[in-house]
């Protein structure tokens, strides 16, 4: 039953998402685009937090690293935005490895605090116009956006559809991850670190791997984010954003539908209730409290038992 729902669920979701721009005005199209981008970042956060079970409160930094890599290469070196994508994935991934390496043995809250620190240092560096490249507190603007040749009239929709394509690509990667040795290793070390080591899993390598993969995907989302606004600025990647991504995974649960619900609750709902201004942050608080009480593993928790069907015997 659940399986069937998921089988039709994904195509249905993408059909609805593909048709959405037809009914949205420009403000809501921007919200929808950001919704898709945040879904990608939240999925990348889920690789570290949900799958490998490490409290990473610095995902916005990797998101920002990707965005700034694209922006700097585009604004200062004149690369087309699409050409910056490989580096926007690679550089955050490398930073993920370098930063996670020394702190990976920290557990729980200690890791969380260390990653918050990284995030704050990152934003400070951006604001201080590091190397004359990051543009200080205002960031970098006037980026050349992605465009499809001969589709000039379609330009308004390119950010949205490029985000959707990247989301599809991310889901494809995560599906491969779930059905691979590396992906399962992450699940094992979340469940029981010591037992994972005792059956031969090098927990250190796989913890760093999850950081690198999460950072790479977040960096990819960063490029799309820079494309959406044709600008980047430090406050979009500060610690509060990391908290948002963290909360999405906790509230939604460590599954793709959970993440989508999480982004909807934590990002789209506050946009809908924008008229209530700061009161909408009540949603954050209440959503957290209610999921903690009613669904401690998230609204749509992870499902296990992903076993190839060919092997399962009836009965």
């Amino acid at each position: 039953m659940m399986k069937k729902l998921q089988q039709i669920g994904y195509p249905l979701f993408f059909i609805v998402m593909a048709l959405l721009p037809a009914v949205l005005n420009s403000r809501w199209l921007a919200v929808a685009t950001t919704f898709v981008i945040f879904t990608i970042v939240a999925l990348s956060q889920d690789v570290v937090l949900g799958k490998a079970g490490m409290f990473n409160m610095g995902q916005a930094m990797f998101f920002g690293l990707g965005a700034y890599t694209s922006a700097i290469l585009n604004a200062h070196f004149g690369w087309p935005l699409l050409a910056t994508l490989p580096l926007a994935i690679l550089i955050p991934a490398i930073f993920g490895i370098l930063l996670a390496g020394p702190i990976i043995h920290l557990r729980g809250d200690y890791l969380l605090v260390a990653t918050i620190g990284f995030n704050i240092v990152f934003v400070q560096a951006l604001q201080n116009n590091l190397g004359g490249l990051t543009g200080g507190p205002n960031g970098i603007f006037g980026l050349q956006m992605l465009s499809i040749p001969g589709m000039g009239s379609f330009q308004d929709f390119t950010p949205y559809y490029s985000a959707l394509i990247v989301l599809l690509f991310t889901l494809f990667i995560l599906r491969n991850l779930d059905n691979s040795k590396a992906g399962r290793a992450l699940q094992y070390l979340r469940e029981d670190d010591l037992a994972a080591g005792s059956i031969g899993i090098n927990t250190r390598i796989y913890k760093i791997y999850s950081f690198a993969l999460g950072a790479g995907i977040a960096g990819m989302a960063g490029t799309i984010y820079a494309n959406q606004y044709s600008a980047v600025s430090p406050e979009a990647f500060d610690f509060i954003q990391s908290v948002l991504f963290f909360t999405i995974v906790i509230v939604g649960g460590s599954s793709v539908p959970g993440i989508i619900i999480g982004v909807f609750v934590m990002f789209v709902l506050p946009e809908i209730f924008r008229d209530f201004s700061t009161w909408r942050y009540f949603i954050f608080g209440f959503a957290m409290i209610f999921t903690m009480i009613l669904r401690p593993r998230g609204i749509w928790p992870a499902k296990f038992g992903r076993i190839p069907k060919a092997f399962i015997k009836k009965g």
């Binding site: 040795k181 699940q187 469940e191 090098n202 076993i307 190839p308």
Partner: protein
């Protein structure tokens, strides 16, 4: 030297001032079922932790097939064919039985890290081969009907079997069982004895800690008895049963006041 011999020489492990394992020496031959027994708190589990790399021992040497393995981390010891189970079951409790056993195939799988991002035909085949190995093992341990069940929700005896299946999934040369019969009823214990014999038939050396004396005396071929971290006796089960030092350790000496 033969590749399958485990030798502990004068192994000592201290926790602060407490000597948990004191000058312990063992010689486990290939294909043996070797027992390590002793009263509660004698240091049996600590000795196992030293062998499997969870604790690093301060003194002595642990050699496996002539290679010093004393200071290796747990995952490297597993790569050399030594695997253990835990006294308190440590399974991945939210996951299914098949996924738990699959974890043992981790070091046998030849997928690389990047196969977690993109699969190739070779990695898909590898994936399939490993699942097949898992289901063969589930068959061996009679666990097939539980394959998709969440392991944390299963009965204790079944969880014990899953943990053994997971350990066997790495194709070990030496299987270390830490109190495999703890919490099992008589019928399950009988099945366990049967299973241990079948594991040995596969050419696996078995080293076990056990409190159930009937089980130990029945299955083991050679025994070492330790108390307060140090060895007090060793020999065949028959010799051990007659050894006065062992009787004293277990039952107290005659002039003890009760």
């Amino acid at each position: 030297m033969d590749g399958k011999v485990l030798i502990l020489k004068n192994v000592t492990k201290r926790f602060g001032g407490l000597v948990a394992v004191d000058n312990l020496s063992l010689h486990v031959k290939e294909g043996q079922i070797y027992g390590l027994i002793g009263p509660n708190g004698a240091g049996k589990t600590t000795a196992f932790n030293c062998i499997t790399g969870i604790h690093a021992c301060e003194e002595g040497s642990i050699t496996w097939g002539g290679e010093e393995i004393r200071s290796l981390p747990p995952h490297k010891i597993v790569q050399r064919g030594i695997v253990r189970t835990f006294q308190t079951i440590r399974l991945f409790s939210q996951m299914s039985v098949a996924e738990n056993v699959m974890s043992g195939r981790h070091i046998k799988s030849n997928q690389n890290l990047w196969h977690g991002i993109f699969h190739t035909p070779a990695s898909r085949k590898d994936e399939n081969d490993n699942w097949k190995a898992v289901f063969d093992l589930l068959d061996f341990f009679d666990l097939e009907k539980y394959a998709v069940h969440t392991v944390g929700a299963l009965a204790y005896g079944i969880q014990r079997r899953v943990e053994m299946a997971r350990a066997m999934a790495i194709d070990p040369s030496l299987l270390i069982l830490d109190e495999p019969a703890a919490g099992l009823n008589d019928k399950e214990t009988l099945a366990l004895v049967e299973t241990i014999y079948r594991i040995r038939e596969k050419g696996v050396t078995v080293l076990l800690i056990e409190h159930d004396m009937d089980l130990v005396m029945e299955v083991t071929e050679y025994l070492t008895v330790i108390n307060f971290g140090g060895k007090i006796a060793e020999g065949t089960p028959d010799e051990i049963q007659k050894n006065p030092a062992v009787i004293e350790a277990y039952l107290g000496s005659e002039d003890d006041d009760f």
